[in-house]
């Protein structure tokens, strides 16, 4: 008895499935046979490619130019590695201890940077760093571990560029000095700090694989670029910055272990070729220690104001044009049915009206996804080469990131197509639907990158469908690097797929509303 019921059930679902397959075929035939739509979709793909490979950017990095060679850290990532290093060789295990009594510095006076002839004023930026460092070699990008005082983030232990461990907070001053110690045992380097030189606290331990037997150890000072936003005119919210420097006073230097060199030598590591003496930094021996002055940073490399170059996101600038074309086609895919009264035949053939919408969404989503996938793959591959040939430094992205950006762009267009079609089914007027779809996805993005202050911009890019542009972000944000992390500089408030989920939620909501209305309304 139960067997029969199941059989009937199964036959019913098979028939249903077959009918839906027919429906999908019907909808794809409708799409395929309108020549204008097919041409429009091809034009969208062509636009994405054309804008990406068009020569919109020129840089000064010739092929193989040393000015644009970015050092690569032990993890394979690009890094900034420039600081002033007062060092000696340390053979085998050993330790170095020092007391820091002050950290001062200079930052550009004109925060807006409009005046080219900028002066400087005393002050330290939050990530100005000075302290002890043990480094595999003086080559920029070599493995290191350091314990340091900072301008605004207290004592930190940092190693191999991306690792950052917080120690005691609060600024350093002659009345509140900090003692720092680095100890090497094999591949392990331990950083410790103390307020009085007798009670020590371990901040962290770094395991640096492949650390050579003899390393360079000593004192360092460095101070990163100052970055600030300036009020923009006509939608070009400006960002400006300038180089800074810091000076730290060290005393009570103590060493254990084998230190074969007779004296300390000072080296400016990884400074820019054209840096003047002031930017390079230097050191002075005092009665019982040193003062060290430096400029630069030891940190992961970032794109934007505090870094150089651009990212592969730049090659996808044509997405907006492609998006607009896809929106127009998606809306017409449903509104043309109403205009030509084809909708009555469609709904007679398939009385389950919700399924008609589902089939349309699947066909459109697939067309938009595949078109954008091909276009984005081409433009990311070719666009990068064009930019590099133009002398622009493009931050290399991992294969995984490239796949995410390409697939994400395809998903962005597919989601927008479904959203636009659903709006078209709700309002049944092509002009209103096209305008709404473009306005909800393009206008928030435009306002966010060009017109609004950062707070409002980030809010907009969390709640509107424009949040989905986060799938194209490749710039990485680091807590230990001060940069202008705003949408205008390519940093989105949501993670890539969370941003896409916002668009998907809007599309799902619009589709549900459309399904509800198409069932209730007369066609």
């Amino acid at each position: 008895m139960t067997g029969t019921v199941l059989n009937v059930d199964r036959t019913a679902t098979t028939a249903e499935r077959q009918r839906f397959a027919h429906l999908l075929r019907a909808e794809s035939t409708k799409f395929r046979t309108v020549r204008g739509w097919v041409l429009a979709v091809l034009a969208a793909a062509a636009a994405i490619v054309a804008f990406g490979v068009g020569p919109s950017m020129h840089g000064t990095c010739g092929s193989g130019s040393a000015a644009c060679a970015v050092p690569v850290g032990p993890g394979g990532q690009e890094v900034t590695d420039s600081f002033y290093f007062v060092h000696q060789s340390l053979a085998g295990d050993g330790s170095i201890t020092v007391r820091v009594t002050s950290l001062t510095g200079l930052i550009p006076t004109d925060a807006t940077g409009r005046d080219a002839a900028i002066g400087t004023r005393p002050g330290v930026v939050p990530w100005a760093k000075a302290g002890l460092i043990i480094k595999a070699s003086t080559r920029p990008g070599a493995a290191y571990a350091a314990v340091m005082v900072t301008g605004g983030h207290g004592v930190r232990m940092q190693y191999n560029y991306t690792h950052d461990v917080a120690g005691r907070s609060g600024p350093v001053s002659p009345t509140s000095p900090r003692w720092l110690r680095l100890t090497r045992v094999g591949n392990a380097v331990t950083g410790a700090e103390s307020a009085d030189g007798s009670h020590w606290t371990t901040v962290g331990t770094a395991h640096l694989s492949g650390l050579p037997a003899t390393v360079d150890a000593g004192l360092f000072a460095t101070s990163p670029q100052y970055a600030a936003t300036a009020g923009g005119v006509l939608g070009t919210a400006g960002v400006e910055g300038g180089p800074t420097q810091d000076t730290a006073a060290f005393d009570s230097l103590g060493r254990h272990g084998t230190w074969p060199d007779q004296s300390w030598s000072g080296t400016a590591i990884g400074g820019p070729d054209n840096a003047d003496a002031q930017q390079q930094g230097g050191f002075e021996q005092t009665t019982d220690g040193f003062t060290v002055t430096g400029s630069g940073d030891i940190a992961p490399s970032v794109s934007g104001v505090s870094g150089i170059g651009t990212t592969i996101t730049q090659t996808l600038v044509g997405t907006f044009v492609g998006l607009t074309v896809v929106v127009v086609v998606a809306v017409m895919f449903i509104t043309a049915e109403y205009r030509r009264d084809l909708i009555r035949i469609t709904l007679t053939a398939m009385p389950h009206r919700g399924r008609v919408l589902a089939a349309k969404a699947i066909v459109l989503g697939a067309v938009a996804f595949l078109t954008a996938l091909v276009a984005a793959t081409v433009v990311v591959a070719v666009g990068q080469r064009v930019l590099r040939d133009n002398g622009v430094y493009v931050h290399p992205a991992t294969i995984g990131t490239e796949i995410r950006v390409i697939a994400g762009t395809a998903a962005l267009l597919a989601g927008t197509a479904v959203l636009a079609m659903a709006i078209g089914a709700v309002v049944r007027r092509s002009v209103v639907a096209v305008a709404s779809a473009i306005v909800v996805i393009v206008l928030p993005y435009l306002l966010a990158i060009a017109f609004l202050p950062a707070g409002a911009a980030q809010w907009l890019l969390r709640v509107t469908p424009a949040a989905a542009f986060a799938v194209q972000q490749t710039a990485v944000q680091y807590a230990q690097v001060d940069n202008v992390y705003t949408p205008a500089n390519g940093f989105f408030p949501l993670s890539p797929w969370a941003g896409f989920a916002v668009l998907a939620a809007w599309a799902a909501f619009a589709l549900a509303l459309a399904a509800f209305l198409i069932r209730r309304r007369d066609a």
């Binding site: 074309v325 092509s430 306005v439």
Partner: protein
């Protein structure tokens, strides 16, 4: 006035009246006008309310420009209105009756332009003035006071008056450009797609070469047309306010002329 010219003006008045009747009796069409006012003011107030408070160094935003942010949204609805004014005639086949009644096709287009201009002017004026009033009331609370060198916004102040008049003119010219594009393209969905593509200058923002970017900002309809909204740091604008509106006027005239020529040459 002789009989011929009297008949001439009579025909013009009839054409404009016909267009007005078609426009205001089409369902939903006139709802776009209050939508322009409401959304323009709403976005303007939102932008003003989220403006960063002034710091000791000064203020970042341009009071008139930030108050008129809503024009960015209002222009999209105005464009929809203009595209629908001609687009629905083609989608319903009404255009044949229209052209049978008024065989001079250029006159049909100009009559539509006249009716749209009147409607948009009557809509844009309150929207722009209310946006500026909201800015005048809210911005002093965010530090835009005489202490920072900002007097309360007033229409008696030259640049602010230009921003207000410029924004109204901007919306009028966007209407004309949209009407021209829609007449040339004849398909509403494609027409609005083309118009909105022009209006959102994101591509320009991605051009990093400053000389190129400046040139593009000088000739693109939106960036050039909206230059008139700026009241501070005028020297850094890519193009002067009135000159920018002139650029947009060239675009609008060009679109209308091309639309008009195609309308005359093509089979409806």
């Amino acid at each position: 006035m002789n009989a011929a010219s009297r008949r001439m003006s009579r025909e013009w008045i009839d054409a404009v009246r016909a267009e007005w009747i078609k426009l205001h009796t089409a369902p939903g069409m006139l709802w776009l006008l209050p939508a322009v006012i409401a959304l323009t003011i709403a976005l303007g107030v939102a932008a003003v309310a989220t403006t960063a408070t002034c710091v000791a160094d000064g203020c970042a935003a341009d009071p008139a420009k930030v108050s008129l942010t809503g024009v960015d949204l209002g222009q999209a609805i105005v464009a929809v209105l203009a595209v629908m004014a001609i687009g629905t005639e083609y989608s319903t086949g009404m255009i044949r009756i229209t052209l049978a009644a008024v065989p001079r096709r250029g006159r049909v287009l100009l009559a539509k332009a006249a009716v749209l201009a009147g409607l948009v002017a009557a809509t844009a004026t309150p929207a722009v003035l209310a946006s500026l009033l909201a800015g005048r009331l809210i911005l002093p609370g965010r530090g835009y006071t005489t202490a920072h060198g900002y007097a309360a916004m007033s229409l008696f102040d030259g640049p602010t008056l230009r921003a207000a008049a410029g924004s109204i003119l901007y919306l009028l010219l966007v209407t004309m450009m949209s009407l021209g594009v829609a007449t040339a393209v004849r398909d509403s969905a494609s027409a609005i797609g083309i118009v909105l593509l022009y209006l959102f200058p994101i591509i320009i923002g991605s051009v990093s070469d400053p000389t190129w970017r400046r040139h593009l900002e000088q000739i693109a309809p939106m960036t050039a047309g909206l230059a008139s909204q700026s009241t501070v740091r005028l020297e850094s604008l890519p193009i002067g306010g009135w000159a920018g509106l002139g650029v947009l006027a060239v675009w609008a005239t060009g679109a209308l002329v091309i639309g008009g020529l195609l309308l005359r040459r093509r089979d409806a």
